[in-house]
């Protein structure tokens, strides 16, 4: 797994995102379409693709895609 692969999966899963627009430093909370539903989409994606469970507490600490990637690596 690398971070580019995670970004591609996120871009595929989240309709509002145009391909090639997310970077590791993208702050997912500052994006204007962000909602709690997107949080569930991301949790589901990470669970299915990486078999890692992101808790509510984890999610509160995640700001950027890099943070999410680091969490997946740590929990894998």
């Amino acid at each position: 797994m690398n971070i580019q692969e995670l970004i591609e999966k996120l871009e595929e899963e989240i309709e509002e995102v145009e391909k090639g627009t997310l970077t590791p430093s993208t702050n997912i909370r500052n994006i204007d379409w962000w909602s709690s539903m997107h949080a569930l989409v991301i949790i589901a994606l990470v669970d299915i693709e990486y078999n890692v469970q992101v808790s509510g507490k984890d999610l509160k600490e995640i700001q950027t895609i890099q943070d999410l990637y680091d969490l997946i690596v740590k929990k894998s």
Partner: protein, 352 residues
């Protein structure tokens, strides 16, 4: 581990009654238009049936049972057992099942009691009825299951309000001489009691003036002590990790292949959660029916309501895997071999 096995028990009919009033999530004013679209896409819930304030779960479930009495050649006085699964009972006391015994015109020798479970309740109810039919001198039983959850959800709580619909179901169950097998796997984890909770109105927090005060929560959410509070992420993580694991374990112990199962009927929580469970179990979409889009999360009525949408159950002998999971936390799985169920009914409530 809580496993139960019985032989020769058959479902004879399944009937659900829903309120007439349809509420559309596309009209939910607390969300922006794009948020509403995202909500409908993610949860899979386009619309829900919402009961009038004067309608109780037992009104819906009793009418559902009466529809089945019109179709199945059962005599009311022959019913030995009535179990009512609900978390929205008519009164603090007496038991809603006992009131329903009288309203349905069942014999006073009928055993009747309530079970206070939600999303897992249908599976629990089936297991209790199957066990009692098998061990007692009993032949015919009725399982009533459902909730009017919408009365507990605050319009200003976007984390709960758009998810729930109301429904009451009735399932007729009979002991036969057949060799078909039913197995159950039942579980509980009260450490997750806060994941879905109505805090006030029981004996822990008696109803008080404070119970009615609207409180503010993260994300602009507002609710009072009588409203249902739902921690979506905790419930999500529990459901997509514990549930598939318990199902895999259950099927391994029962030496059953996923290929041999005709339909996997899950509690209807929300689409992204249910689809995550389905994908983790590597089950084909054709085997996993949904009622979410039209009815939302109907608590313990969700499994019978969804079964009624599967046409082939009316004509074919099937092996079903049922799974109910949620509030408690409580979860249960069932493997049911059953003959064709010609009477699978969904009707609107006649008094709306």
């Amino acid at each position: 581990m809580g496993f139960i096995d019985v032989e020769g028990i058959q479902i004879k009919g399944v009937s659900t009654v829903v309120p007439k009033q349809v509420v559309y999530n596309k009209n939910y004013e607390l969300l922006t238009l794009s948020e509403r679209e995202m909500l409908i896409k993610t949860t899979g819930i386009k619309q829900r049936r919402v009961a009038n304030k004067s309608t109780t779960t037992s009104d819906l479930a009793i009418e559902a049972a009466n529809h089945l009495f019109d179709k199945v050649d059962w005599i009311r006085t022959e019913i030995d057992l009535l179990v009512f699964v609900t978390q929205s009972r008519d009164y603090y006391l007496p038991s809603t099942a006992v009131i329903s015994q009288h309203k349905l015109g069942l014999s006073t020798s009928c055993i009747a009691f309530d079970i206070g479970l939600g999303c897992s309740g249908y599976v629990y109810g089936l297991s209790i009825i199957a066990s009692m039919l098998k061990s007692g001198n009993l032949k015919k039983a009725i399982l009533l299951a459902g909730d009017v959850s919408t009365i507990s959800c605050n319009y200003n709580d976007k984390s709960a309000y758009p998810l729930f619909g109301d429904a009451g179901s009735a399932t007729f169950i009979e002991k036969t001489n057949k060799k078909n097998k039913w197995s159950f796997d039942l579980n509980s984890d009260g450490s997750g009691e806060d994941a879905i909770k109505i805090t006030d109105g029981g004996t822990r927090n008696l109803p008080s003036e404070d119970s009615f005060i609207l409180k503010q929560f993260e994300g602009g959410i507002q609710r009072n002590g009588f409203n249902l509070a739902l921690n979506g992420i905790d419930i999500f993580n529990f459901s997509v990790t514990t549930v598939p694991k318990s199902i895999k374990n259950f099927l391994t112990i029962k030496e059953t292949d996923f290929d041999s199962i005709d339909y996997f009927v899950m509690h209807q929580a929300n689409l992204i959660m249910n689809e995550t469970i389905r994908k983790k179990l590597k089950l084909e979409p054709e085997k996993v029916p949904y009622s979410l889009a039209e009815y939302g999360n109907t608590s313990s009525a969700s499994i019978p309501l969804t079964m009624a949408l599967v046409e082939s159950l009316k004509t074919n002998t099937v092996k079903l895997l049922l799974s109910g999971f949620g509030v408690g936390l409580s979860w249960g799985n069932a493997l049911l071999e059953n003959d064709a169920i010609p009477h699978l009914l969904i009707n609107d409530y006649s008094h709306d």
